[in-house]
């Protein structure tokens, strides 16, 4: 009696949990698709609008598909219309940004690696305080240092120049890059350094020959982080540079806001996409290492 009762109720329960599972699965997909569309929607509008002519934009809605693939607005955004005064286009500023971002990422990453190496493998009295103060740098709002930094750049004679921006971004990148490298190197056994010292390697040799070759994951993380931060920066760019020395984000802003005649939405959208493409490329190329690097723990040698 009891056995029968139990087996039938188990079957019922099994059925029930099956339906519940199916329902939950579909619900999950629904939620995921909802969120995904929410994030993709703006990008869709940007791409579609950039491919339309002004005529089409005026007549259609935001969502309508362009009648033909028309890259004119991209060309205008990149290279301008070819007439003189008031023609703002992205090309020179794009190169400004590249000239700023490449050295700034390189120096801040390199210095961060070096500081992280010292803070973990060449411990000295008070090193923890040094690290703590460096960490403060991560929490200082950038607005707070605009004025002192402007004075500093002025004194050094590099205000309104790409060099000045490189310096600013390098300095403000160091707290983050140090944090990354310090946390990575702390999991590398210090015995490696001891072994190398007995083998006769010095401070720099140990860094370049032993530690740097095993730092690829964290270098990728740092480069992505720094590249995104510096490329997307608007505050420092707009404060410490103007006119020809401006980076792309500032130029983008000028282009969109200072149009004298009609608002050319297609050109604006194309410009915005162009300004965003480099970070996208960095993510696509190195993204899979990003998570791996962030979570990678001890180096097993």
């Amino acid at each position: 009696m009891q056995d029968n009762y139990q087996s039938s109720s188990y079957k019922e329960l099994e059925q029930k949990s099956k339906y519940t599972n199916i329902f939950l699965r579909w619900f999950l997909y629904f939620i995921l698709i909802l969120f995904a569309s929410y994030f993709i929607f703006p990008l869709y509008v940007m791409v579609v609008t950039s491919l339309k002519t002004m005529e089409e934009i005026r007549q259609g809605t935001l969502l309508t598909w362009p009648s033909s693939l028309n890259f004119d607005s991209w060309l205008v955004a990149w290279g301008g219309r070819g007439y003189g005064a008031g023609d703002t286009f992205l090309r020179p500023y794009f190169w400004n940004s590249i000239k700023m971002v490449v050295p700034a990422v390189f120096f801040s990453t390199f210095i961060g690696a070096m500081t992280g190496y010292v803070l973990t493998k060449w411990r000295f009295k008070g090193d923890q305080w040094v690290f703590l103060f460096l960490l403060f740098g991560c929490f200082i709002p950038f607005q707070a240092i605009l004025l002192p930094m402007a004075r500093t750049l002025g004194t050094l004679g590099i205000s309104n120049s790409v060099v000045g921006l490189v310096l600013v971004h390098t300095v403000y990148g160091i707290p983050f890059t140090t944090l990354f490298f310090r946390n990575y190197y702390i999991s590398v056994p210090t015995e490696l350094v001891k072994a190398a010292r007995i083998d006769g390697a010095g401070f720099f040799k140990i860094f370049f020959k032993i530690l740097l070759p095993i730092s690829a994951p964290i270098i990728v993380v740092t480069v992505i982080w720094q590249f995104t931060q510096i490329w997307n920066d608007f505050l420092f760019g707009s404060t410490f540079s103007f006119g020809e020395a401006a980076p792309i984000q500032v130029a983008l802003n000028n282009m969109v806001l200072s149009s004298t005649s009609v608002k050319e939405y297609n050109v604006d959208m194309a410009s915005a996409i162009i300004a965003g493409i480099p970070t996208l490329i960095v993510y696509v190329l190195a993204g899979k290492y990003f998570i791996r690097g962030l979570t990678s723990g001890a180096v097993k040698g």
């Binding site: 490696l192 072994a195 010292r197 020959k209």
Partner: protein
Amino acid sequence: MKTLKIEELSKNFGTTEVLRKINLEIDEGNFLVLLGPSGCGKSTLLNIIAGLETINEGNVFIDDYNVSKVEPKDRNIAMVFQSYALYPSMNVKENMVFGLKQAKTSKEKIEEQLEKVSTFLQVDKLLERKPSQLSGGQRQRVAIGRALVREPRIFLFDEPLSNLDAKLRVEMRREIKKLHQQLKTTVVYVTHDQTEAMSLGTKIAIMNHGVIQQNDTPENIYNKPSNTFVADFIGSPSMNLIKGKLIENSNNISFIADGSTLEVPINNYDFIEKSDLNNKEIYFGIRPEHIYFKKLNEEDFDINLRADLSEYIGHEQIVTLDYSNQEILAKFPSTIKIELEKEMKLYFDLKHTSLFDFKTKERL
């Protein structure tokens, strides 16, 4: 000439005293094991010998040359680490010759050394592999190889076997022993494992709280521990320390445990200083393996003790006995059937006892 000499060495980390007035000497070809519980300062001492750690007071001499302020690479030493510390980005060959390259050794000499050592350690087939592609035992061999190619005066080992599993550990232990027998090099070896220390060392220095408790041959460490710490640290289970006092009358000396009236004669005990013994409070030390179930020697002292507990561990059993309310342990073959809660006749081997002063904990 002493290969290694350490003189009045002290070391502090801030206010914590890690090593206190260490004196140590090693002759050529000896295998010295630094043994002690974790935090006793043995690794710090090894790091100081290597030059990886600075000294607060005292000196280190290698071949009578004061190296206290000499860089690690110029001390003519090599070190094998617990985590092996193989350079992850280099293959086995690069790992082994890294030190020689730093020392600007000629190419021919490097090749010759590499050839010799890698064949000797049987890693010559692995030269192109990365450390991550090696097994634990192979990594250990490469780490030893990296030390060997430099032909150092002293080898330093920092718990080299503790990362291996039990079986491999015993194998590698034998290999290190063989290595030392063949090469007759001077070795300083740090471990917390007493079996390792006993089987490898020609000398063992037992450390506790930054002080060397006893520096002696394995036999003396086992048979004549110089204080209760050593007596307790060596042996498994460790030595029974029975509290009681000495009675001296005319020519007889005997021991009476607290709460007992039984006199254990210890006339043949080899006292370091035989004075003022009457009524002295002491620990009577006897190892579990020196309490017998059957009389083995003529002088064995027979005693009736109650068995409270028996722990079976395969080839033997450890029996907990009651000696006038003090718990003592004895080791018997597991074939013997012990009746619990009953008194039985047992025999103390009085040739193998140790007496310690109750107050100073030092050997009498």
